[in-house]
């Protein structure tokens, strides 16, 4: 009976908190990272540039057209990749803090008590 009462009063809530904090939120956070990439790619066009890496810009099918387009597209691919990487870094950093926060508070509290 005591166990049941404890379960209702504390354990269930604790379990719900842990589920949310360490499982559901990280899942949604990662999903939101990919959603953001999808939105940014409408502007940064990493996919479009990758797909057309060998095609010239502005329909200029001369040798110069090809010569200009390739480095341009490669540069844009690099720029977009770096941007997505840093965006990922920001997302990861936030997630790391999120995951560490309750553990840190608990461990820090215990350590201080000693």
């Amino acid at each position: 009976m005591v166990l049941k009462i404890l379960k209702v009063l504390i354990i269930d809530d604790l379990k719900e908190f842990l589920d949310f904090w360490f499982l559901h939120f990280p899942q949604n956070w990662i999903r939101s990272y990919f959603d953001q990439i999808y939105k940014f790619d409408q502007v940064l066009k990493l996919k479009a540039n990758l797909r057309n890496i060998t095609k010239p810009l502005y329909g200029d099918y001369t040798l110069i057209g090809y010569a200009i387009a390739f480095p341009y597209r490669v540069l844009r691919i690099i720029f977009a990749s770096i941007f997505y990487f840093f965006l990922g870094l920001f997302y990861s950093f936030f997630l790391l803090i999120w995951l560490i926060l309750p553990i840190f508070l608990l461990v820090y509290g215990i350590l201080l008590s000693k």
Partner: protein, 814 residues
């Protein structure tokens, strides 16, 4: 896969559970207060722990969603605890209800649940929207203290709620879904209550959707904004495609609208239905074909094209179409603004597009420019269409297509895709979503019943426009009516009223006045038609079945063949019916089939392909499907034309020459014929039984009409020849009409004596034409004499005129 419902609270007995619930609330409160106290206290080492407890409590307090997401549910899970999919509010509601039920022990758990649901504001609002007065629900909750496993009874309700959340792609089970679960799993007694209050599953589902969208209506507005709004808002234009592989199109941009740009900028391009047409469009473009979309105005041709632009923008198209721009070019608009330089402009646009590449051109209302007299668009476009180097989508109406065919063979340039109107279900879904926006704007609650009724009636009676446009017009008219009446709700009845008014048809549920009219229909017809009991009985029977909503599934309301000699009342029956039942003789479409004796006369019946002649049969029915059609002297119709009537009599639907569907399912068709009427006369003179005469006549009719046509008549009714007594009665009816007319127009009382009436009948009866000359005789003898007397000022208002006969007709004025 096994569903179960388990919650730690429910494992404790109900009294203990109630106490624990209270303790828990107090416990959480104490915990938070203590934590705050510790946070600001001097005990340094407790601060991080206090912060952690506050973090946990706040997270749990702010989190309203379910523990698990319904959308992330996978079928490989074998055991599913539905408790995890309930949102917090619904879970608390359910625990509280189950606790109360276990303490109070109601006899009928479903009644108890309904009562508990009706305490909730959300469900009360839902009933308000559904226009259902739950105060009138007739049920009482008894408490018999019997032991029932309520947690077991709730499981099927939860399963239904879970399935609904899943099918609607909602993250959790909310209170609406739970109520739907109760509706689905109600016991027969509760089922009766729902049934008697006209709470249907579809209405409930639409109502729930509307309530949910009302609460979370984000993003809906841009989905349904008319394109014109976007075009006004956007001043800048994309000059290049996404991958920058195309050239800049300065010239094209001055005359066009970039749909791919719109799709990206405004998130426009939502599409309901038309999946097959869209797939076919993409496949044809992929193969390099030009596509012609043919559909009535308002079927959603442009919505399909805008959705394609959205798909291109989101890179959800085959690789061949990736990186394209989809650009709208309204040729007739450009022409109307630049008549002189049109060809020059077009030529430059085409050069621009060809030079740029990666552009799909879309020409709306393509027929308008084709049919323009002073311009030959194919002079410029012919080569482009033939070479297929620029993908082109054009749209047209079916009428426009047929008319264009007279000028150019479009089929050699385009692959045709016919765009059908949305189905009723799709229209209801689309209009349900739109209703949320209208509600917010107009502050009038639109009931799901009114949306469903608008779609149902528009599909059947409003043929000028396709779904969903026709139903949308009805709802918008309904909203302005509700605004005028200062009503807070748009109801089903208001929608019925609008359609009834618009189309002059009895779409309302049968009211007392009409019930009486229907029940008395036979008597009313008998007042005008003499000696034709069988015909009257049959017609009255068919109309009663139709208005009671019990009509057969396919075909017109009724198809009758009236056979009999001239002047026995065949046409008169149709006229009387049009007047009594349809309100006026104007609701009758009358065709003399003598005019359709040649195969080429078919044009007069269903119109011509160029739209110059409109069908005399199809056009009136297209405009007003609720009509009586009288086809006089049907036997004189050419056999080729008779074949046209086979699908009409059978399915109730044909296409006119312009390819438009014409619906006869709300029409009553009466064909008359006097074929073999001599045989009827002779048979009666020879003393044969009437039934035998009828049988013999019916078998002879197969020599004129094909058996398949004869089989499609609901009834072949043989009219009896009229004897002297019948003719006297007919004359009395005609005199009565004349009396009423003279009294109304001139205030003169007309009385015709019995000898005078008999003499008129004697003079007005013809062995060949039956009662037909009777009216002429009455006009000759009485009407013209009264006219003379009025003109000579011998007869005036308030006078009485008595017509008598003794050797001659005498007119006595009193």
């Amino acid at each position: 896969m096994e569903f179960y419902f388990q919650n730690s609270f429910l494992e404790i007995n109900p009294i203990g559970r109630r106490i624990l619930l209270t303790i828990k609330e107090a416990f959480n409160l104490v915990l938070i207060i203590t934590s705050f106290f510790l946070l600001f206290s001097g005990i340094f080492w407790l601060r991080p722990l206090a912060l952690l407890i506050i973090l946990i409590c706040l997270t749990l307090f702010l989190r309203s969603s379910a523990q698990e997401d319904v959308r992330r549910f996978y079928h490989h899970q074998t055991k599913i605890n539905l408790n995890d999919y309930l949102d917090k509010k619904t879970r608390n509601f359910l625990i509280a209800v189950l606790t109360r039920a276990e303490i109070l022990k109601p006899t009928n758990f479903y009644f108890f649940l309904l009562k508990e649901f009706l305490r909730k504001k959300e469900i009360r609002n839902l009933f308000g929207r559904l226009n259902i007065d739950f105060e009138n629900f007739n049920y009482t909750v008894d408490f018999a203290k019997t032991n029932q496993d309520f947690q077991k009874l709730i499981l099927p309700i939860l399963i239904s709620a879970f399935n609904l959340a899943k099918s609607l792609n909602f993250p959790s089970i909310n209170i609406y879904f739970l109520f739907f679960g109760l509706y689905q799993n109600a016991d027969p007694e509760l089922g009766k209550i729902f049934e008697s209050s006209d709470l249907k599953k579809d209405y409930l589902l639409s109502g729930i959707l509307m309530e949910l969208f009302r609460i979370h209506s984000f993003g809906l507005r841009s989905l349904f904004q008319p394109l014109a709004v976007f075009q006004r808002k956007i001043s800048d234009r994309a000059l290049l495609n996404k991958a920058l592989t195309s050239k800049e199109t300065y010239f094209l941009n001055a005359y066009s609208v970039d749909f791919t740009y719109l799709a990206n900028k405004e998130n426009a391009g939502y599409l309901i239905g038309h999946r097959q047409e869209l797939e076919s469009l993409i496949e044809n473009l992929r193969q390099g074909n030009n596509v012609l979309l043919i559909g009535q105005e308002g079927t959603g041709k442009e919505a399909i094209i805008l959705h394609l632009a959205w798909l291109i923008q989101n890179e959800s198209v085959p690789p061949e179409l990736l990186d394209f721009r989809l650009v709208k070019l309204d040729l007739s608009l450009i022409y109307s603004q630049n008549k002189e330089k049109f060809l020059e402009i077009m030529s430059k646009i085409i050069d621009d597009v060809r030079d740029s590449g990666y552009i799909i051109l879309y020409f709306p209302y393509f027929e308008e420019i084709i049919l323009e007299k002073d311009v030959d668009i194919f002079h410029i476009l012919g080569e482009v269409l033939r070479s297929r180097d620029i993908p082109i989508i054009a749209t047209m109406t079916p009428e426009g297509y047929q008319r264009s065919l007279t000028k150019v063979n479009l089929d050699s340039f385009f692959e045709k895709i016919e765009i059908q109107e949305l189905s009723e279900e799709e229209s209801i879904f689309l209009l349900t979503l739109k209703s949320i926006l209208w509600e917010k704007k107009e502050k009038i609650i639109i009931s799901p019943q009114s949306v469903a009724t608008a779609v149902f009636l528009a599909k059947r009676f409003i043929k000028e426009k396709p779904l969903p446009q026709s139903a949308e017009d009805v709802i918008i008219d309904g909203l302005s009516l509700a605004r005028k009446l200062k009503s807070k709700y748009l109801t089903k009845e208001a929608v019925q009223e609008i359609v009834a008014e618009k189309k002059k048809i009895p779409v309302k549920e049968i009211d007392i006045e009409e019930k009486e009219k229907l029940l008395n229909l036979e008597n009313l017809l008998h007042q005008r038609i003499v000696n034709q009991n069988e015909a009257i009985k049959e017609i009255a029977r068919v109309l009663k079945i139709y208005r009671a909503g019990l009509e057969k599934k396919k075909g017109p309301i009724g198809v009758f063949l009236f056979v009999g000699p001239t002047g026995v009342g065949k046409t008169e029956t149709a006229k009387a019916l049009a007047k009594i039942y349809y309100g006026s003789e104007k609701s009758m479409v009358r065709l003399d089939m003598v005019e359709f004796q040649n195969p080429e006369d078919i044009d007069k019946l269903i119109g011509t392909k160029d739209g110059q002649i409109l069908g005399r049969l199809t056009e009136p029915i297209r405009q007003n499907p609720y009509s009586l059609i009288l086809l006089d002297e049907f036997e004189k119709t050419h056999p080729t034309i008779l074949r046209i009537f086979l699908p009409i009599f059978d399915e109730g639907i044909i296409k006119d020459a312009l390819g438009r569907e014409v619906d006869f399912t709300n029409s009553l068709i009466i064909c008359t014929s006097n074929a073999y009427s001599e045989d009827v006369k002779q048979g009666i003179e020879n003393g044969l039984e009437f039934d035998k005469i009828v049988d013999s006549l019916k078998s002879k009719l197969s020599q004129i009409f094909s058996v398949e046509l004869l089989n499609r008549f609901d009834q072949v009714i043989v009219y009896k020849p009229l004897d002297e007594e019948n003719l006297l009665k007919i004359a009395e009816i005609m005199i009565k009409d004349l009396q009423a007319e003279i009294l109304l127009k001139h205030g003169i009382d007309l009385i015709v004596s019995s000898p005078a009436l008999k003499e008129i009948v004697r003079l007005g009866t013809d062995p060949v034409y039956g009662a037909r000359p009777l009216q002429r005789k009455i006009d000759e003898i009485i009407r013209s004499e009264i006219a003379n007397l009025i003109l000579a000022n011998k007869l005036s208002r308030g006078n009485k005129i008595i017509v008598n006969f003794d050797q001659n007709f005498e007119f006595k004025i009193e």
